[in-house]
Symmetry: C2
Subunit: 156 residues, 2 copies
DNA sequence: CTCTCAGGTCAATATAGTTGACGTTAGAAT
DNA sequence: ATTCTAACGTCAACTATATTGACCTGAGAG
């Protein structure tokens, strides 16, 4: 994803004929997702990490001592899919896994300091994009955005 | 993506501790994307198609006689990545490619009737989700949503 | 003390993308 | 006219992210 993609996303966002009045909204959802995540992904790529790693870091940051099983449930992907990125993060010492003395059945995950820093920076890039957009429309607009997204997100 | 994913997306959407005030918005963007595309993806899967096929159908529907090169530019992926899904669609006769007599250099793509129907139905599922959300908040809310997404999408 | 089941790992496969190498065609510059 | 170049397009090999299936381990229930 370099020059061509960038150009396409920027240039052609409004270039397609709209067959329906909601086509513009459809396309905004697509490019919005990319717009929010692009800078964070670029940062992560410099560290040899990507979206799945970030998602793991994000969740563990917000729920320390989470078990792998719970993590899987939140991420909504198979435990096998979690395995590889998780092991990379452990190996890189961005998070730790320990078994508690009593609950010997599951491992408890926590971020290390290095892991926290990366998580904060990556998520920070995403929040920055959102913040700028919200600032542009003011609190009522931000609230409306949240309301719309909430309804859409409920279609899961 | 079946029971576990569904449960995760629905149940855990609000369950994580929020470290920042924009965390909720961040998560809404993630689950919103899934919420909008889920039903369409399920429909496409019954036909043995998926998101890249839909994206091609979507663009060609809105720009008939588009060349493969322009398609690539709009999609923002490499021509090699377009090749496989494109060939499947041609083979299934959901779209046609012809070379114009004078412009022999590029192929011109068009949807067949079958392709149009699938495109309309798949995109229709996505528009339905958006329409319901917009109806819930009214035109000003919808406009605010569009404004916010426009700013976010510009970060490409 | 054994049976079951959740937690966790390994192996094989599918899908969507990448880069590299290469053939074809149109148009420009000798 | 001939050749050079660049765009268009295809094929092959590889990477990353997911999937399902098979299996091991250990806690707790009977």
């Amino acid at each position: 994803m370099k020059k061509a993609a960038k150009r396409a996303a920027g240039l052609h966002r409004a270039s397609l004929t709209k067959l329906h009045d909601l086509d513009a909204a459809l396309e905004l959802m697509y490019y919005g997702w990319r717009g929010m995540t692009l800078t964070a992904d670029q940062y992560l790529a410099t560290l040899g990490l990507s979206r799945p790693h970030h998602r793991i870091l994000y969740v563990v940051a917000r729920q320390p001592d989470i078990s792998i099983g719970s993590l899987i449930e939140i991420l909504g992907i198979s435990k096998q899919a979690v395995n590889r990125p998780l092991n990379l993060l452990l190996q890189r010492k961005l998070l730790t896994s320990k078994r508690s003395p009593e609950q010997h059945r599951s491992k408890l995950l926590r971020l290390t300091e290095a892991g926290k820093q990366i998580e904060q920076r990556a998520s920070g890039y995403e929040r920055k994009v959102l913040r700028e957009a919200f600032d542009r429309v003011g609190p009522p607009g931000a609230a409306a955005w949240m309301a719309v997204m909430g309804v859409i997100a409920d279609n899961n």
